[in-house]
């Protein structure tokens, strides 16, 4: 079982790098959706006793992260009529390498720090931090609004992984609340993206600098 969980974490990390190295936004949406499904399923493997609330929150997370949000994003993408991130701040290959380096760095640091959590999820903390940082890299290096939303989603996934540590402590209501927050924010961002597209006739967030003083 332990091995299997670690495999899942490694898949998540690889998906991160894929997301960094891909220019087709549709593909990235799919990658993030897959990551979401894995994340949703993770608690079922980590916990020894599967309870009804755990099942509910897990299923909700899978549906939301794996299907609903990607569908919203795809619709936004169709409305915006763009396909790829043309010229990111850092090129695709360099950002993939950079992401790999960050991941390695996080693993190195976390190997130096002693933690008290169970040994079967030893990859949990480094994976979570690596995912958060890669979310940040996506947010910083991409100019298209939709790509930035994807960066935000990856970042959120990282936070979600971290919250698995506390899965026993967090009541289901809080977890559901978090999911609802995510859903609403993506929903709103998609609408805003649409409006940005209409106002600037592009999704390039560099145009937003005309709003500054």
């Amino acid at each position: 079982m332990n091995e299997f969980i670690n495999v899942l974490f490694v898949i998540i990390l690889i998906l991160n790098l894929f997301a960094l190295g891909n220019s087709r936004i549709l593909t990235i949406i799919r990658i993030v959706a897959l990551q979401g499904i894995i994340l949703g399923a993770l608690p079922l493997f980590i916990e020894h006793h599967i309870t009804i609330p755990l099942l509910i929150s897990s299923v909700a997370a899978i549906i939301l992260k794996g299907f609903v949000i990607p569908l919203i994003m795809m619709k936004a993408l169709r409305d915006a009529q763009i396909k790829r991130e043309v010229e990111p701040l850092i090129g695709l290959l360099p950002s993939t390498i950079f992401g790999g380096l960050v991941t390695a760095l996080v693993f190195f640091i976390s190997s130096q720090v002693e933690t008290t959590n169970q040994p079967e999820v030893s990859l949990l903390i480094p994976t979570s931090f690596a995912t958060i940082l890669i979310g940040f890299i996506l947010l910083i290096t991409r100019y298209k609004a939709i790509s930035q939303v994807l960066g935000y989603l990856v970042l959120e996934n990282g936070i979600y992984i971290f919250s698995l540590l506390l899965i026993e402590a967090i009541p289901m209501v809080v977890e559901m609340g978090m999911l609802l927050d995510l859903f609403v924010s993506i929903f709103i961002i998609s609408i805003i993206t649409n409006h940005i597209n209409k106002a600037f006739s592009s999704l390039d967030t560099r145009n937003l600098s005309s709003l500054k003083e």
Binding site: L133, F136, L139, I140, R142, T205, L208, L211, E213
Partner: protein
């Protein structure tokens, strides 16, 4: 207990007085009448409660615990509070009546209801400040007053200069409040609670620090120089009845704070009094010098308010010194003069501001250089102005004289042979007070002669009309108060004695004002003066009846082509004295440099800006702003960059958290 409930219900009615009007159409006068009715009702209720609380010796206290963290809803009405409740309940009610004619809802559909609403909350929160017995409640009421006053004075917020004046006021009042926060935190940490009761166990250092914070914090509201920077613009740009309330009552809340806290802190040192005496003297003198040099009707009155605040400050300083050196006469005369002047100033300054509203309403300008000859068109205003001017210049037989007389007597008491030598220097303050009085007289002579005498200096809006009845009544009432309290100060002195005894327990001989000074002498002299004036008028009329009166142009004097421009202007009238004081006024003069042999077109321009605001506050703020312009490089407008800032910040926090640095 009954008086507390009366006062509380009065102030609650004041608080909500503007609410019903919001439901009426914005172009109908009915709502306005309802507002005025409620304000008057609330004020009368409050006045009855105040009158009752003068009659009891034990201050009634009401403490209700509430769900707001910290503090209680605690109110107490001792005689000090009751004394300050008098102007708080009287002036806004008169101002509200005045607004019926001055700020007609029909003519001000956009902001009349808003003004009515905030005018009510302003009056209500001031009443709450005065009776608050708990630091938190005090701060809540204080903030509520500051905000209400802000919205009142920015009534015409579509004008840029009014927004600017409002902004300066807003910044100043919040700096003051911030300092009061510090003061109350110190208070809480040293006394252990927010309840405002007298403290006898604190050390001198602690009380000294609390006193300094209280003095600076309250000075921002009272308008002591150099904390007055908001005051002239705010008073000049607000509607006149708001200016009247601001000057007559809101400033007094600052004075109330200083008096209240200097009373609560029982342990004091002589330097407290010296600070107040010096700041008061500087404020009074420079206030009146600035007033003299202004040409805007309401700015003159605003600077004159600063001057009067200075006089009150000198009185408080004298009383504090008296307390430190165990001289009950100084306490009684200083505090008595200060209290009396608080009351008097709220009467005559409100009268003058109401009057200024009537004049400005009629002429359409605030610049006195454009006025002239109004005494013929507006005899009522001219007469009311004379009463206000005589009172504010401290001339007998009106009330301003009595309060300043108390102060003079107090200052002279300090050089009596029996006193120790270290306080004889206080007597110098009498000299300053005399200078202030003289300059005040000069200022109001200038105003009266420029505004009401001579002939019109410009094509004024040609409806120079008599003010409406609703504007006359408040002025008439206030003029009546000025005359009555001036001739019969015996009516007021028991209230003063009560307030002094509530302020400090230190009065071993249980002295009262009427024992120290012959009040009936003032009454007799006042009546005699009035009689003499009446006799002169009667004799003059009698002597002049056999002759025919020919009416001509003012300053006609046999000149063939007189024009109004030949008259003295306000600036030229003031020139001698403004030149004397040019070292603090720093006037900006622009004129044609050389006069040619043949007359050419020439110009002369003379402006006096506020010393502290234009030479100190603005330059410093502009410099700081320039520094902060460099921060603009961080504002690139790119979301990516902002995310980068976040991650840098997060990483920094991690690093500092990791190595255990306390941020």
């Amino acid at each position: 207990m009954i008086m507390i409930f009366l006062i509380l219900s009065g102030l609650s009615i004041l608080f909500i007085s503007g609410v019903p009007a919001l439901f009426f159409s914005s172009s109908s006068e009915k709502g306005h009448y309802v507002t005025v009715f409620l304000v008057v009702l609330g004020s009368i209720t409050g006045c009855i409660g105040t009158a009752f609380s003068f009659a009891t010796d034990i201050p009634p206290t009401l403490i209700i615990s509430w769900t707001i963290p910290l503090g209680n809803f605690a109110v107490a009405v001792d005689k000090l509070s009751a004394f300050f409740l008098i102007p708080v309940f009287i002036i806004p009610a008169l101002g509200s009546i005045y607004s019926l004619g001055y700020w007609k809802q029909k003519e001000h559909t956009a902001n009349g209801q808003k003004l009515g609403f905030f005018f009510g909350t302003l009056a209500g929160s001031m009443a709450l400040i005065v009776i608050a017995h708990d630091g938190i409640l005090f701060l809540i009421a204080w903030e509520s007053m500051a905000l209400s006053a802000f919205f009142c004075l920015t009534t015409e917020d579509h004008k840029k200069e009014i927004r600017d004046a409002g902004f300066v006021y807003f910044v100043c009042t919040h700096i003051g409040t911030l300092i009061l926060f510090i003061m109350f935190i110190l208070w809480n940490s040293t006394t252990g609670s927010f309840i405002l009761t007298q403290t006898q166990t604190l050390s001198k250092q602690t009380t000294g620090i609390i006193f300094i914070f209280a003095f600076i914090g309250f000075s921002f509201k009272a308008g002591f120089i150099p904390f007055h920077v908001w005051l002239p613009d705010a008073h000049a740009n607000a509607p006149s009845h708001v200016s009247a309330v601001m000057s007559a009552v809101v400033l007094k809340m600052g004075i109330y704070g200083i008096i209240r806290f200097s009373g609560l802190l029982m342990v004091s040192e002589p330097w407290w009094g010296i600070v107040l005496l010096c700041v008061g003297a500087i404020t009074g003198l420079s206030g009146i010098v600035f007033a003299f040099s202004q040409t805007d009707f309401k700015r003159i009155l605003a600077y004159s308010s600063i001057e009067n605040i200075g006089i009150i400050g000198m009185g408080i300083g004298l009383a504090l010194l008296g307390r430190s050196y165990a001289k009950p006469e100084l306490v009684i005369l200083g505090m008595g003069g200060a209290f009396f002047h608080v009351l008097n100033h709220s009467f005559f300054k409100a009268l003058l501001f109401f009057n200024s509203g009537a004049v400005i309403h009629a002429t359409g300008t605030q610049n006195i250089e454009l006025m002239g000859g109004l005494a013929k068109k507006m005899p009522f205003s001219a007469f009311m102005f004379i009463i206000g001017a005589v009172a504010i210049s401290a001339l007998p037989p009106l009330n301003g004289f009595v309060s300043e007389w108390l102060l003079y007597l107090g200052f002279f008491k300090s050089i009596e042979p029996s006193t120790t030598s270290n306080i004889t220097l206080i007597a110098l303050a009498a000299v300053v007070l005399a200078m202030i009085g003289t300059l005040a007289l000069a200022t109001f002579v200038k105003m009266y002669s420029i505004v009401f005498l001579g002939s019109p200096r410009s094509e004024m809006k040609n409806h120079s009309h008599a003010p409406a009845l609703s504007m006359k009544i408040p002025m008439f009432v206030l003029a009546g108060f000025c005359i009555i309290t001036g001739i019969l100060p015996v009516l007021v002195t028991p209230l003063l004695d009560g307030a002094i005894s509530a302020w400090t327990a230190y009065n071993p001989d249980s002295l009262v004002i009427s024992k120290l000074i012959p009040l009936h002498f003032i009454t007799a002299t006042g009546l005699l003066l009035i009689a003499i004036v009446i006799i002169i008028i009667v004799l003059y009329k009698k002597a002049s009846t056999p002759y025919k009166t020919i009416k001509g142009i003012t300053w006609d004097c046999g000149y063939t082509k007189p024009t109004p421009r030949m008259q003295y202007t306000g600036t030229s009238f003031a020139q001698i004295i403004t030149q004397l004081f040019s070292f603090i006024l720093l006037p900006k003069i622009s004129k044609t440099s050389q006069l040619q042999h043949f007359p050419e077109k020439t110009h002369f321009h003379y402006t006096v800006a506020d010393l502290i605001l234009s030479r100190l506050v603005y330059p410093v703020l502009y410099f700081i702003r320039k520094l902060f312009f460099r921060m603009y490089i961080f504002q690139q407008g790119q979301p990516n960059l902002y995310v980068l800032y976040i991650i840098v910040m997060v990483l920094l926090l991690f690093i500092f958290g990791g190595i255990g640095v306390d941020l």
